[in-house]
């Protein structure tokens, strides 16, 4: 079972390395979206510091959604997905492996880039630390929740729009607590409560999302 998990993670990472433009699209979107705000809003440091958490989290949310479509669609089109469903491995484990690989490819770069981009918003080192922590806790939840939507809309025309409609409402708690934690830290209230909530959302989606995703994949593969 662990071997199967490892095999799928390595497979998806290898595929991403062979097709680097997929990773770069998400990362560049994140960089561009965040860099445009200081240019548009103007160089007023107080304003920038104030909007930073929200901007970062909205950009992370949209970047994550941008990458969702590719999570299962290519495997579905070339038949490897149905073969995976027919292997003697627990399908939840395979789905979890795919989501982990997806997060490593699309989520981790955002976490690593955020301190650099944070400088544009004159964020203090405390705020940057909390921002990284919230992204580290929040982006896996985005990938997990998004997987359900991606699985449900497999093979549908205009699936991309439908995914956003299905998934965005579920993303909102992550957005609120993610940006809330940074704001609370900056204002001196302490963001611990928000961060615990993010952790709870992560654990909940870690348990429930693979089950829902597998059920959706089985329907889509029919």
């Amino acid at each position: 079972m662990f071997k199967a998990f490892y095999t799928v993670v390595m497979r998806d990472l290898l595929l991403a390395m062979r097709n680097r433009s997929d990773i770069l699209t998400t990362v560049f979107f994140f960089i561009i979206a965040i860099s445009l705000f200081p240019l548009g809003v103007g160089p007023e440091l107080n304003t920038l510091r104030e909007i930073a958490p929200g901007v970062f989290w909205v950009a992370a949310l949209l970047a994550s959604m941008l990458a969702l479509e590719r999570l299962f669609a290519i495997d579905f089109a070339d038949g490897t997905l149905e073969q995976m469903l027919l292997t003697p491995q627990p399908a939840t484990i395979l789905v979890l492996a795919k989501v982990l690989a997806h997060w490593l490819i699309t989520g981790v770069p955002l976490v690593l880039l955020s301190p650099l981009l944070g400088l544009q918003y004159d964020l203090s080192s405390d705020a940057i630390q909390v921002l990284m922590l919230t992204l580290l806790l929040g982006t896996p939840s985005l990938s997990l929740i998004g997987a359900i939507g991606a699985a449900l809309t497999l093979g549908l025309r205009g699936g991309g729009v439908l995914v956003s409609l299905l998934v965005l409402p579920l993303y909102i708690p992550v957005l609120i607590f993610g940006s809330g934690a940074v704001e609370a830290t900056v204002s001196g209230l302490g963001g611990a409560g928000h961060i615990f909530m993010l952790g709870a959302i992560f654990l909940l989606s870690l348990v429930l999302s693979p089950l829902a995703t597998v059920a959706a994949l089985r329907v889509s593969a029919e």
Binding site: K3, R11, D78, G79, E82, Q83, P88, Q89, L94, E222
Partner: protein
């Protein structure tokens, strides 16, 4: 071993077949016949568990296959219309991943040998995307040589293959049936399988020669 009882499958509010029943035992081959659209692929996908029948039961060793997904998957190999291989990976990589997921412990040497047997010598470490249709099919069919599953479900396995590959595949299938394996396949070609029991199942209402 494999038993089908009173099976009905509805696709897009049209019943493709109903009250379908048959059984398959070790050392038997079932050749599914029928015109285009008669439900051959749908039947195969129902037998492997991808499609939920609207009525009836497919059972393996006496238990419904939907109650023993992982156990049944261990003993069944399904090759559909889609090759199920990644265009960006090489033939060896594809085969390695597929056999690992099938729970087989296959060494790299074996993988190269199997691909050579499938006539892919010299193409093992090329991205599958640059290979021809027939070569992609051969990569996918190489799984048969590694498989330890007694039941093979093959949907049009001969498409895109050249004559030599068709002959080779026929001997592979014949050998599998001889060794107490089970095969269900659809094809429009005449399959010459001299050994083992060959059953035929005709789907659809049209007669031969009707268009």
């Amino acid at each position: 071993m494999l038993e089908v009882n009173n099976l009905e499958v509805i696709r897009g509010d049209r019943s493709l077949f109903s009250e379908l029943g048959f059984s398959l035992n070790t050392g038997e081959l079932l050749h599914l016949l029928g015109h285009n659209g008669s439900g051959k692929t749908t039947l195969l996908r129902t037998l492997c568990g991808l499609i939920k029948p609207s009525q009836g039961v497919v059972s393996w060793k006496g238990t419904n296959i939907r109650r023993q997904r992982d156990e049944f998957a261990q003993e069944m190999l399904f090759l559909g219309h889609l090759n199920g291989i990644k265009a960006d990976l090489t033939a060896v990589e594809n085969l390695r991943i597929l056999s690992r997921l099938d729970g087989l412990d296959v060494s790299d040497d074996e993988l190269w040998q199997v691909l050579e047997k499938m006539g892919l010598y010299g193409h093992e470490d090329l991205a599958v995307g640059v290979l021809s249709q027939g070569q992609k099919r051969r990569v996918s069919l190489a799984r048969l040589l590694l498989s330890k599953s007694p039941l093979w479900l093959l949907d049009e396995p001969f498409t895109a293959l050249d004559k030599a590959a068709v002959d080779f595949l026929q001997t592979v299938i014949a050998e599998h049936v001889e060794n107490d394996g089970m095969v269900i396949l659809t094809t429009h070609q005449d399959v010459g399988l001299t050994t083992g029991e060959v059953k035929q199942l005709r789907l659809g209402w049209k007669k031969d020669g009707d268009v």
